[in-house]
């Protein structure tokens, strides 16, 4: 988790994680445990071993901290999708990065319908990622159709990782989940 929480441009102490990063990691852990509404600023500060005053020194509040976490998630996942060299590898990356940020995604699901600006950010990220996935679906499938397939795959994995974060599903290896989904895209479920 440490490595994924070191965004570019973040001023870093010598070998130490910055206070800001410690707070973000604490936010992630608290959201994972309690969801967005259940995570109080006091809980996040306590998780970080700091005072609420210290948190407010770095963030306007819970929403600002969450927004930055989600931004990092978006950066990490688009980078991972860019680097992956096949659709199947992208699906693996999607699951792995989403699991790293499961607290942020649990929080996101909790406010998706009530914060239009967050819904818009999540929608934009889905569009960007669908584009990156569609690029790997070459062949007679039009880009428009490929994007639709990609969006649906993203939706499926979003819900899959959300259910995991709620403790409703046992974790399966991400390569197995990706292989099953990729198999459905290529071959469906029935023998030809």
């Amino acid at each position: 988790m440490e490595t994924s929480l070191s965004p570019s441009g973040e001023p870093k102490g010598k070998g130490m994680r910055s206070t800001r990063q410690v707070l973000l990691a604490a936010g992630l852990a608290t959201f994972a445990r309690a969801g967005y509404e259940g995570a109080r600023v006091a809980d996040i500060s306590a998780e970080a071993g700091m005072t609420t005053g210290a948190l407010y020194g770095h963030f306007d509040g819970k929403e600002a901290l969450f927004t930055e976490l989600f931004q990092q998630y978006g950066d990490d996942i688009t980078r991972a999708l860019n680097d992956a060299d096949s659709l199947q590898a992208q699906l693996v990356q999607w699951i792995d990065v989403s699991r790293t940020y499961s607290g942020a995604l649990r929080a996101s699901a909790g406010i998706l319908q009530r914060r239009p600006e967050h819904a818009a950010a999540r929608h934009r990220l889905r569009e960007t990622c669908a584009g990156l996935m569609a690029w790997h679906m070459r062949g007679p499938l039009t880009q428009r159709d490929a994007r639709l397939v990609a969006r649906m795959l993203i939706d499926v994995l979003d819900q899959y990782t959300f259910m995991e974060s709620m403790g409703w599903k046992e974790q399966r290896r991400s390569v197995d989940v990706a292989a099953a989904l990729h198999g459905m895209v290529l071959k469906g479920v029935y023998v030809p």
């Binding site: 509404e37 009530r114 397939v149 649906m152 599903k169 895209v185 469906g188 479920v189």
Partner: protein, 218 residues
């Protein structure tokens, strides 16, 4: 989502002490409250809505609303009990003569159900976290669908139509999600407005049929 639908959770609405409508007029009043609640839920969800607001929309005092329902969650509990009944009656995916899922009409029905009950689905999804009685029902419905897909895929396995290399448990899970989440994105969140139902249906049918392999590489 196939015939193996189960309903194990003990979830239902019963009027609390003295709250059942006694007369035809009482029933009409209760219906008015429910109708008002649905319209308020559709616009604003559940969390930020008050009983007073529901009363206002129905043209009734909040005292009258409390005569029939304990609180706003009680109203949703009533509506969800009805919706769950509809779901278990109407969301089945039949098998064809070759024991393969007939997907297309099921997708249409699923979309239709979401459109007809968009307010309730909105509140339901909004209520998933933290875990509570409503998310328990959501998970139960999800598990019912999943077991249905497992049964259907295993049946196909016995008759040799299902791909032998299939991870049935995992594919059944993903199959349910393929119905649930894109429909939520589309109908509740209002995403993908430019996409038409038949396009969604075509993708779902392919992924639960013979795939898109002929058109996709990678």
């Amino acid at each position: 989502m196939t015939d193996a639908q189960s309903s194990s959770t003990d979830f239902s609405w019963t009027p609390s002490e003295g709250r059942a409508p006694a007369s035809r007029r009482g029933h009409r009043t209760r219906d008015r409250i429910l109708e008002a609640a649905v319209s308020v839920f559709e616009e604003r969800g559940l969390v930020e809505v008050t009983m007073q607001e529901i009363g206002q929309r129905a043209g009734l005092s909040s005292g009258t609303v409390y005569k029939y329902f304990r609180d706003k969650a009680d109203i949703f509990r009533f509506l969800l009990t009805q919706l769950r009944q509809t779901i278990s009656e109407e969301t089945t995916i039949p098998l064809d003569d070759d024991d393969k899922l007939i997907v297309r009409p099921a997708v249409s029905r699923f979309l239709e159900l979401y459109r007809d009950n968009v307010a309730l689905y909105r509140v339901w999804w909004e209520s998933l976290d933290p875990q509570n009685e409503f998310s328990d029902v959501w998970v139960e419905v999800h598990e019912g669908y999943r077991k249905g897909f497992i049964a259907a895929l295993k049946r196909g396995g016995r008759t040799g139509v299902t791909r032998p290399d299939l991870d049935v448990e995992l594919v059944a899970e993903l199959a349910v999600l393929l119905f649930e989440r894109p429909t939520y994105s589309r109908i509740v969140l209002g995403w993908d407005a430019e996409i038409e139902d038949h396009q969604v249906s075509a993708v779902t049918t392919a992924l639960l049929g013979s795939g898109l392999g002929a058109t996709v590489t990678g």
